[in-house]
């Protein structure tokens, strides 16, 4: 995601300098106009059934339009405006099909103001769930990745460690972390520690496998050079093997993050009785589909935010790869 943006940004920078084109400004303003139009449509066209927050929704849409107009005048929406235009059309279609015409079966499809209602009325509970999920995810993921990284380096570096640990990894590694769920919930003293363990486990295996294959695959000439220049073992591990392996480690970190998300939701649904996974299940149980969509949207933002953060960290740590790879 961030990677694609970066590549496109560089291409744009490489073009010969011309007078800044007016197209993005015009495009941005037309997208803003579209948002205003959706706002007008929302407030002027009466709902098929009573919805409490239609007025607030219209104001929110207008605020988005206003912000977008300002951003395009300040030339801050150079690349975003086609998306913003498409989003405005999407929201309009959603609004018309649900709230205005009632085309979609009622309890299963909530209109935009239904989601807004959830955010405005139920935000304390949602916020608590977000905090709970984020804490569980981040603590489990960090623990699992750190353990995986250390195990991977140890196994990749030392034949003796590899002899004992490799068969265990091979046997247990392919097992999905969710298969441990029943065991974890009775083996651990609390459901919180059990789910932290499961999330950590989901991150642990991909990080371990990628790290150890990376360490085992380091160009032996890198070691030769350091050794002739007086490097000791510690230097070879910390300053040669680990930096050379970092690109692999990040592949493992991305895979592990995906696995952690999956385990997090399952653990929350089955055992923890808190967090976004639990909220979704609870909402579904009460046929509160608006709440479910609202929680799904928050979860999507949380997950993609974490992925974007990891991309940022990678871009910072592996800046040397820029120009070596198609970044």
């Amino acid at each position: 995601m961030a990677a694609i943006e970066g590549a496109a940004g560089e291409e744009a920078g490489a073009l010969p300098k011309e007078a800044p084109s007016l197209r993005p400004v015009i495009g941005g303003l037309s997208a803003a106009a579209a948002w205003f139009a959706v706002a007008a449509l929302t407030s002027a066209w009466p709902d098929a059934e009573e919805w409490e927050r239609t007025g607030e929704l219209a104001s929110l849409l207008a605020v988005v339009g206003g912000g977008l107009a300002l951003a395009s005048l300040l030339r801050r929406a150079q690349r975003a405006w086609p998306w913003m235009l498409a989003l405005a059309l999407g929201v309009a279609a959603w609004e018309v099909a649900t709230a205005k015409l009632n085309l979609l079966p009622r309890p299963f499809f909530a209109p935009p103001q239904g989601l807004l209602e959830v955010y405005l009325d139920d935000w304390p509970r949602l916020a608590e769930c977000v905090l709970h999920s984020a804490w569980l995810l981040i603590s489990g993921y960090l623990l699992g990745s750190a353990a995986g990284f250390i195990t991977g380096v140890a196994v990749g570096w030392s034949r003796a460690v590899g002899y004992w640990v490799n068969p265990v990894l091979r046997l247990i590694g392919p097992l999905p972390a969710t298969a441990w769920l029943p065991l974890a919930f009775f083996a651990f003293p609390s459901s919180a520690s059990a789910s932290t363990f499961l999330v950590a486990l989901a991150a642990f295996f991909p990080v371990t496998i990628l790290t150890l294959s990376g360490v085992a695959g380091v160009n032996s000439a890198f070691y030769d050079i350091a050794r002739t220049l007086g490097a000791n073992k510690r230097f070879l591990v910390l300053k040669v093997a680990i930096p050379a392996t970092m690109p692999h480690v990040f592949v493992g970190l991305f895979m592990g993050l995906g696995g952690s998300f999956a385990v997090l939701v399952v653990a929350e649904m089955l055992g923890v009785k808190a967090g976004l996974g639990w909220y979704i299940q609870w909402a579904q149980g009460w046929a509160a589909y608006g709440n479910m969509y609202a929680a799904l949207l928050v979860m999507a933002l949380l997950c993609s935010g974490l992925v974007a953060l990891l991309f940022r960290i990678r871009d910072h740590l592996l800046a040397w790869q820029k120009g070596l790879l198609r970044w």
Partner: protein, 262 residues
């Protein structure tokens, strides 16, 4: 340049002895003999060039001198003591520059000092070494931003910065254009004269060997045996059209089986 040479003269050069060294590799289940009973010695401060056909075992011999592998037979001595592993007094410039892609050029050159824990006091030496090979402007560049020749010069700087007592050079100038090459040849010879280290140079360029070395050792096809040792008793700076060197060049090319083509 001279700033890089601060070793006291008595300990500058390292004496090397190669005694009946044989070496072989396993290749597809067969033994591939590479070095066949090679013996020679290098006096402290000497500049010896090794010449031989491609694939005869020159780089292998240098790996043994560096202490990266033990020989299958025979022994190698540095200052009379057996070589049992790498030591920063014997620095190798490998055929392939192999800079660390995750380090800037400056950090690559600083590698040896950092590994030995000497970097803090010697940061200026890194800058000097970079200036010596003409890469001052590229200190902050990453290796993939260098040309092949620049990478080779960076690898040379990475070796020189350690103030080696034996500098082992495996075709270090192979990728340079002819002008930079001539300049670097002169630079290495001047550095060798002022710093007083012992130099062991592998090259496939006969002229380069004759311009730089005090002695040339010629190897046979694999498995490498020594076919000739030719002292070159000419003062520096040498000139390629020096009639003595021109004669020697014909002689060496004859030994390498190339006489008729010149």
């Amino acid at each position: 340049m001279v700033a890089l040479a601060h070793k006291a003269d008595d300990e500058a050069g390292l004496g090397l002895a190669v005694r009946n060294v044989s070496h072989a590799f396993e290749l597809h289940g067969q033994t591939l003999p590479v070095l066949d009973n090679v013996s020679f010695s290098v006096e402290p401060g000497e500049f010896v060039a090794l010449l031989g056909p491609s694939g005869c075992g020159k780089s292998t011999l240098l790996r043994l001198v560096a202490g990266l592998e033990p020989p299958c037979g025979g022994s190698l001595l540095a200052d009379g003591r057996p070589i049992d592993g790498p030591h920063p007094s014997r620095v190798v410039v490998f055929q392939d520059p192999t800079l660390y892609p995750w380090r800037t050029v400056w950090d690559n050159v600083a590698l040896g000092l950092e590994a030995q824990g000497l970097l803090k006091q010697n940061r200026a030496r890194v800058d000097e070494a970079l200036a010596l090979v003409g890469l001052s402007g590229f200190a902050k560049a990453y290796p993939h931003q260098l040309s092949g020749g620049m990478a080779q010069r960076a690898a040379l700087a990475r070796a020189l910065v350690n103030d080696p007592r034996l500098l082992v050079l495996d075709e270090p100038l192979g990728k340079l254009d002819s002008l930079t090459r001539i300049a670097m040849q002169g630079e290495i010879v001047r550095l060798w004269q002022s710093a007083g280290f012992t130099a062991l140079l592998v090259t496939h360029d006969v002229e380069e060997a004759l311009l730089m070395a005090t002695r040339v050792i010629v190897f046979s096809e694999r498995p490498a045996r020594i076919t000739a040792e030719i002292p070159i008793d000419r003062p520096y700076p040498r000139h390629r059209d020096d009639p003595v060197l021109v004669d020697l060049r014909h002689k060496v090319l004859d030994l390498l089986g190339m006489g008729s083509s010149w």
